[in-house]
Amino acid sequence: MSVTTDTLTKPALVRIDGVHKYYGQHHVLRGIDMTVRQGEVSVLIGPSGSGKSTLLRCVNMLETINAGRIHVNDELVGYRERGGRLHDMNAKQIAAQRREIGMVFQRFNLFPHRTVLQNIIEAPTQVKRQSKAAAKTRAMELLERVGLVHRANHYPAQLSGGQQQRVAIARALAMDPELMLFDEPTSALDPELVGEVLNVMKELAASGMTMIVVTHEIAFAREVGDTLTFMDGGVVVESGDPREIIANPQHDRTKEFLARVL
């Protein structure tokens, strides 16, 4: 894949510098540094409890960080710097920052009382104040992209897990984010439904979307990822070209992990 060389020259969209996160006494993230360039697909792998999901959630402030800095598009995430001090962002500013970042969850989290179409147009009409007609047109385009036009007027409970996750992706894309976060998007799916979601993600990556993907799908990392980061115990153990790391891991912990999941 030639994407790697292209994206290496692009400017950084996400900069994570020395990030620490504690849950009480529990030190979950122990100084994470990471850069994601525009158009890059950055795949995070690691055993459960390694902090990869927590790191992803810090990027859009579903978790707050205790030390370090996260920048998205050269904007400090979650704080304002004034007079050499950090000030917490207020709810309005946080919401504004989140609009630029789409997120897809392991458990889909579609709104069950809304149809597929209503799920997708909710944020554009409520947050971006788009007209209903415009939002619907856009929603139908997105549904076509994820292959679910015929499910527009169904409720989430009427869809398979794979279809629900594709709707969740369409819902996130409806806000035209610059960055998409995927938190184990296929972990809650039956094995035969994983492929349809990964295909949508693959198509999205090919269209140039910047993505950070927490996953256990090593094949996806190898095929679609531009960088692979292996985390364990709250630190980045190894990071680099996915094909190289998977073929030739340098660290014992990486080797051990890959041996178990491959």
Partner: protein
């Protein structure tokens, strides 16, 4: 790839080539105990019905005379008005109190907690008497600068009439109970809903109103229906204010004048039963509305912009190959 599952029993469709499977024709379990119980229950019911008809102390003729009496019908009107207004106040306050209790703002949380503590912790009868006496405590209500000049002043008894006192007393007391019901409902909604909406850049107030509350209503409606029916009968306590036009007071008045308490109690009871039945029908529709997408899949009217003809369905993604894995849910009528 038909989405309508064919009935499996039709000949030769199971692919085994063995034709129609032999359907099970099992003998059902017998329930002689049920039959015996039913006979006993029916016998008791018949005896009760017979006594209702033959026992002259019930004075059904008096029940008939007063059932549609003007005072009774007016009483029903006032009782309904008290119930509806106090529940409207209670529900409005309860939503506010539940949101405040779930808020990040410690001030809101404390205010909500103290409100519920006070109004739930003191008897409704006492509260009603208190509202009736408010004009004694505060003869004048004035609007003005605190500790400074006053702008408007009213006599309390002109504003807080017996009816207003009754509605306030019932509504504020009920708001405390409903606040806890609403809070339980809000808590029942999965955290992922809040996170998903937050990740879309929605603000908390809007998320609560548009995402969390509508889902919580599934849990909230049944106990709120309970509370409404309870309120219908609690309105008979308004004589504490005193407010003296409601159904119970009206039938009691007639009973005292005619020395016939039993038939007039029956009149009141029958009317409460009728109104409760109507409320239960209403609750059924409210529950159905908020069960959309979870308990029932009443399809929303397909609008023209998004209507898709089956022939026009294009499967774009390569991965969409397993339509057959989709569980088609049955649509309940």
């Amino acid at each position: 790839m038909s989405l309508i599952a064919p009935a499996r029993s039709t000949a030769d469709t199971d692919g085994s080539g063995r034709g129609k499977p032999q359907m099970i024709q099992a003998v059902p379990v017998r329930h002689p105990g049920r039959w015996a119980c039913a006979v006993v229950i029916l016998a008791f019911a018949a005896m009760l019905a017979q006594s209702l008809v033959t026992n002259e102390n019930f004075r059904w003729d008096v029940v008939g005379t007063y059932f549609m009496d003007v005072l009774v019908i007016q009483g029903i009107g006032w009782t309904l008005l008290l119930t509806v207004l106090s529940m409207v106040i209670a529900i409005t306050l309860a939503i506010l109190l539940a949101f405040m209790r779930e808020s990040e703002n410690p001030l809101f949380r404390s205010v909500s907690w103290v409100w519920v503590w006070f109004f739930r912790g003191t008897p409704v009868y006492t509260q009603l008497v208190f509202w009736g006496l408010i004009a004694v405590l505060y003869p004048k209500i004035s609007l003005g600068v605190p500790f400074g000049p006053e702008l408007f002043a009213f006599d309390t008894q002109d504003i807080v009439t017996a009816f207003v006192a009754a509605v306030l007393g019932l509504g504020l007391n009920e708001s405390a109970y409903l606040a806890e019901i609403f809070r339980a409902g809000l808590k029942s909604v999965d955290n992922g809903q809040m996170e998903a909406a937050e990740a879309l850049g929605m603000r908390k107030s809007r998320i609560m109103w548009r995402i969390i509350l509508p889902q919580a209503m599934r849990i909230i409606v049944p106990p709120t229906g309970n509370e409404t029916i309870g309120m219908l009968k609690t309105t008979s306590l308004v004589l504490a204010v005193p407010f003296t036009l409601d159904l119970t007071f009206a039938t009691n008045g007639i009973a005292n004048r005619s020395y016939l308490p039993i038939p007039l109690l029956i009149v009141a009871a029958l009317w409460y039963l009728v109104i409760t039945s109507i409320l239960m029908v209403g609750q059924y529709y409210v529950e159905r509305h908020f069960g959309k997408g979870v308990d029932n899949f009443v399809r929303i009217p397909v609008d023209k912009a998004t209507a898709v003809k089956p022939a026009a369905v294009k499967v774009v993604t390569a991965g969409d190959s397993n339509e057959s894995g989709v569980k088609e849910m049955e649509e309940k009528p």
